[in-house]
Symmetry: C2
Subunit: 716 residues, 2 copies
């Protein structure tokens, strides 16, 4: 990352002078279309082509080199062969340029030789303090009429609008722009980040957040430049503007393709980390390009839902039902209509109409029924928005119902979304409705998808903004455990040490005591309370059950004595040379649900908390969820609720609910440990027992892996 002079990145988006190095007149060359685009888009600054081979390019005086330019270029656009790019950057820097967009390919994407060239380009840009876009990219545009910059080689420039688009794939960006132009979708800014040697999506999120012309930000990425920085950057932006992302390479095949495409790090099975970072930053992930535009359209309209309560108004039952199904899938609510609304409508509508939600007015109604009914519905405080489905009929033309909907729209700030069923998105009626602030879709389920996006964004904005909790933990004890382990070079903590570290962070374990003889064990059992577990304690025995070193469910002193004797014999016979520190007497863990809670680390995402149902659920069903640490209280709760086996924790069929509050706190405490103890590279509580509500959690088995001494403290 090479960030420029300002977080706004004005040197890239609002340059007053531009030099296109490698501009050309030869048909089919990138330098030809690019310079033509710069000129044709109505650039408000001054643009100079630079190329020793031409006297003029597209009719504009061409200069042989950067030194000859009459105006110092604020932004350089570079289309020269890869080996010449570093030199060009230097010249640009010397000429005073603050930014460079390197279109040229032949860098990291082609292997080591290219990577070396790319490193050199970055070094030069850094030396001159220049913002760098690319290399290997499709360019940048800004449709702001006071700038008029089209520094791409796109054939089609979309109309001005309020959608910003950042793409890691140049050709995908190009295709999208072409599509958008034909569908009349307006953009504010576009950046193809290419190899991201300089500016990346994180820098751009911050810049686009500050752009008053941008209302919604679209990202296409195949990997994140830095997962942790993305979390921070996106979390800021989504407070002001919705961010929609396609992260492709979700499947192994897709990932293989993405890897070969971008040369990015393999992140096998890491797709859930992307889900985590998007969930924690309020970014909406979509899986399809078509879906991206369905959401972009509604966010672009500037409409906002106050809540999830939707009414569906239709003159045709079938599409209403399809929409109702889709609404439920999108997490929207279709409340029963408030009594006031019902009585107001009953008098007006044909007797055959069912005053329900969806409200099917039947095919007999006219455009005016639409207007009046919609006005009645939308002013009800019990409804947050409306989906209007209208199939033009003999009694009602598309034009008249479009006008009726627009009239109703004018009376409210609540979103009204339309599906003129049977009429395409590009029809006159749809165009008219959209001009009147009514996003319009061809199919009802698509309209609902858009409304679902608004509802999710509303829920994100309205979430309780709870800070990360920091618990008072026994830092001295924790540090003592860790430095002791590090002093002997241990990377896997012994069980008692793992327990010590976790107890220091407030994770409860069963009460236990080390007994050196049987009488001490019985006293310990009395103190802890029966039933108890007896375990051999020896630094030389790692698999206790193999030597008969574990006895469970000892209900009283007599059983404890019997177990002691049997264990003593069996352990000494099986492991005659082992040093025996004594036998551990431990409270039998009471019944509860087994969950898994752990820490992992990732080079891009940093410390990660993992949570899932324990035992077979983890192994066979992969019912686990991830969040980047630190985990806030709300995220901890979402983790618990997001696993498929959540009903088992919530309690079913009269079973008591588990102690979800204690479980949430345990997640947050483990998150705190992950953040405060970078030397812990892996931690597994499996199982952690979650007892019934009010009875807390108890860890049973803990495994902790430390970074090798040399790495200690440097792991992200």
């Amino acid at each position: 990352m090479v960030v420029g002079r300002s977080p706004e990145l004005d040197e890239l988006f609002r340059p007053t002078s531009v030099a296109v190095v490698g501009a050309s007149n030869r048909p089919g060359k990138v330098g030809t279309s690019l310079f033509r685009n710069v000129i044709a888009a109505g650039f408000q600054g001054v643009a100079h082509p630079v190329n020793p081979s031409w006297k003029s390019v597209s009719g504009v005086r061409c200069y042989p080199d950067l030194q000859s330019l009459p105006d110092p270029p604020e932004l350089g656009i570079v289309i020269v062969p890869a080996p010449q790019v570093a030199g060009t950057i230097d010249e640009l820097g010397r000429a005073g340029a603050k930014g460079a967009i390197v279109i040229s390919a032949g860098f990291r994407e082609i292997g080591d030789a290219g990577a070396a060239l790319e490193n050199e380009v970055v070094a030069r840009a850094r030396r001159h303090g220049m913002s760098l876009v690319g290399p290997n990219c499709f360019g940048v545009f800004n449709t702001d009429p006071s700038v008029g910059l089209n520094a791409t080689f796109s054939e089609s420039l979309p109309s001005p609008g309020n959608i910003a688009f950042v793409s890691q794939s140049g050709a995908l960006g190009a295709g999208i722009l072409k599509y958008a132009a034909s569908e009349r979708i307006g953009f504010s800014r576009f950046v193809s980040v290419g190899n991201r040697a300089g500016v990346d999506e994180n820098d751009l999120l911050a810049a686009l957040d500050r752009d008053p012309r941008t209302r919604v930000i679209l990202l296409y990425v195949e990997s994140l430049a830095n997962g942790r920085r993305f979390l921070e950057a996106a979390r800021d932006v989504t407070e002001h503007k919705p961010v929609l992302v396609i992260k492709s390479g979700r499947t192994t095949a897709g990932e293989r393709a993405a890897k070969s495409h971008t040369g990015s790090l393999a992140q096998s099975g890491r797709d859930q980390l992307y889900d985590a970072v998007f969930a924690q930053s309020g970014v909406q992930r979509v899986d399809s390009l078509a879906g991206l535009f369905r959401l972009a359209k509604i966010f672009s309209s500037g409409l906002a839902l106050g809540g999830p309560r939707l009414v569906i108004l239709t003159n045709s039952g079938g599409p209403g039902i399809v929409a109702a199904d889709a609404a439920v899938r999108q997490g929207l609510e279709l409340p029963f209509l408030p009594e006031a609304v019902r009585s107001a409508l009953t008098s007006r509508l044909p007797t055959i109409a069912a005053v329900a939600n969806p409200l099917d007015m039947t095919a007999d109604v006219g455009a005016d029924d639409y207007r009046r009914t919609l006005e009645t519905l939308i002013e009800s405080p019990g409804l947050d928005g409306a989906l209007v489905i209208a199939t033009p009929t003999g009694t009602m033309t598309g034009e008249s119902v479009a006008r009726a909907i627009a009239d109703a729209r004018a009376t409210t700030r609540k979103p009204i979304v339309a599906c003129l069923f049977g009429v395409t998105d590009l029809s006159e009626e749809a165009t008219y409705l959209e001009s009147q602030g009514v996003p319009t879709y061809t199919f009802p389920e698509e309209a609902v998808e858009g409304l679902g996006g608004l509802a999710r964004y509303r829920a994100w904005l309205d979430r309780p903004h709870l800070p990360v909790r920091t618990f008072a933990v026994d830092r001295a004890a924790a540090s003592a455990v860790l430095s002791r382990a590090q002093s002997v070079g241990a990377t896997v903590l012994p069980e008692y040490a793992a327990r010590g570290l976790l107890e220091a962070y407030g994770i409860p374990f069963p009460r236990s005591a080390l007994a050196r003889d049987v009488e001490e064990a019985v006293r310990a059992g009395d103190g802890i309370g029966f039933p108890v577990v007896l375990k051999v304690a020896s630094p030389d025995i790692s698999h206790k059950t193999d030597v008969g070193g574990v006895a469970v469910n000892l209900r009283n002193a007599a059983e404890l004595r019997g177990a002691w004797e049997r264990m003593d014999r069996s352990v000494r016979a099986a492991a005659p040379s082992a040093r025996i520190d004594g036998f551990e007497v431990e409270a039998q863990v009471p019944a509860g649900k087994e969950v898994l809670l752990g820490i992992q680390r990732d080079p891009s995402f940093g410390p990660i908390v993992v949570f899932g149902m324990g035992g077979i659920y983890v192994e066979a069903l992969r019912d686990v969820t991830f969040r980047l640490a630190p985990v806030r209280p709300l995220s901890a709760q979402h983790m618990i609720e997001s696993i498929r086996a959540y009903p088992l924790l919530r309690g079913v069929r009269g079973e008591p609910a588990s102690d979800l509050a204690a479980l949430g706190e345990a997640i947050e405490r483990i998150s705190q440990l992950a953040v405060e103890r970078p030397e812990v590279v892996e931690l597994d509580l499996n199982p952690l027992i979650v007892r019934p509500a009010g009875h807390g959690v108890t860890a049973v088995d803990a495994r902790i892996v430390l970074a090798p001494p040399s790495d200690s403290g440097t792991t992200v």
Copy 2:
């Protein structure tokens, strides 16, 4: 259902003479647009308007009544008010009509009075042996130029094509026709079935199967007229033609809306039965109208995939990756390219291109590279079809690449599907490609969705056509159990009787013996083999554990004696008046996985087999699946594989696999019982223990409910 003279339903689809009763000239009336449509569509027979109010309709001589017609009408189209419809049907019948399409509304959908009118209409049609469509419907069309029938009041008639569409929602049908007309989607036939008092989707499936102009059948239904008949009808059709369905009302909200819309039976929570019937009949269910058309387009092309192995060819990495992700979601395979293909291509493509799958030729290639590469790929025996993604670039126009793809298409019968990325579906290039047999989509994921449909249909056609297995069961013993229970009027079978019935059908239970004294019990234990379970046997004790009547895991004779004494005391104390037949000694069930297996019955779907993981999985996670009985071997296997917890049965982390063969057989045996014993209205094996492979299954607990004596044998 009133089925007409022929399974082809020619009286509806190919009439030689038509009478439109209720034809009109008044603008905005259904009778006006309908008669105009009949005339305008180029009807090849003779059409007469019938209405005493007019001398002529749309310029055609109008008759006051049916008796006055110069030609006997083969088909009547009825648009008169509801109370006059029955009389009109009578007149049509007397005039020799073989079919009637009743457009008029005001029947079952408005309540009891309407239902009475509808019953009368049905009775009259039946009396005359007429086929009846409707009432409350939007009509019928057939675009066959030798017929040219448009008996709908649609504003737009789609172009002729090979897609047939059957809709339970008239207005939805109308919207679809309008949409299709603007998108140049061609239809063969259309039927709005309305209230389905006569012809229903099952009759139409059979008729459309026989229509040589129909290549793919689309259904929109809110409920099935008869789930069981649908299974049979659809299973036949899908051997010849793909059937795609939207069954709306999937969610509770949608179902509520559907119920109020169609007045159909409430079928709460029955959506999984629809999934079952579609899976068993090879019908592809889609959730969105847009998705329905994406599939219809590719099936309409007549292309077929020979297998799931897809190659993706692109000049742009991003869309290729999006397509790869989508392909995996659709169950398609993206094999590594065969060596012969790799070496053939390596010499030809730019060095920067990765010869992988997706094959990204990079933006530098031209149209001719597309043609040659595509030809090389598609002739490889290791690949079944190709998705070509092309983003028009400076080096390649949309037109040239479209031509290149079409040229390659001409060399093969394998499907080639295109995504001209950035170019809309209605562009000239897309239109040209589709005319050349290359289905073309705007977005890569949509193209993949189409290919996924082809692959699923191929898998359906290629499935092993295994017959229903009929096991040699002990029918005499089963009948004895049932008649004994029925003779005493029992509806819930006692445990031993349930066991007897199930054992007669080959479902194993643990070995057991009734012991009358403790010595007999010990002998039984020796015979069965320890460990054993001891249970009180009494007709008066239904909850044995409540009275201390169950002891498990008795490891030897001594423990059995002890348990006998304790149980004897405890049961006599807790239930002093209970008759005690003795104590049951039962083999302890060895370890295994607990599953649920059962029978349910449904008025529309008939006998149903239910399968899922047992215990908490059923209660909390609803991890169950359904199939209509009889269940074939393949369906039994699909049931096992389709539950989420399937990995637990298949075996994970070195755990042995469960005995899936025995489990499949148990499913089929239960299915046989369901079919042969209609008096069993409910059956639950919960749990059935599935032991490791080779060790079979063992039932532990069985609950069987019989129909009340009066119903016996009549339950579907």
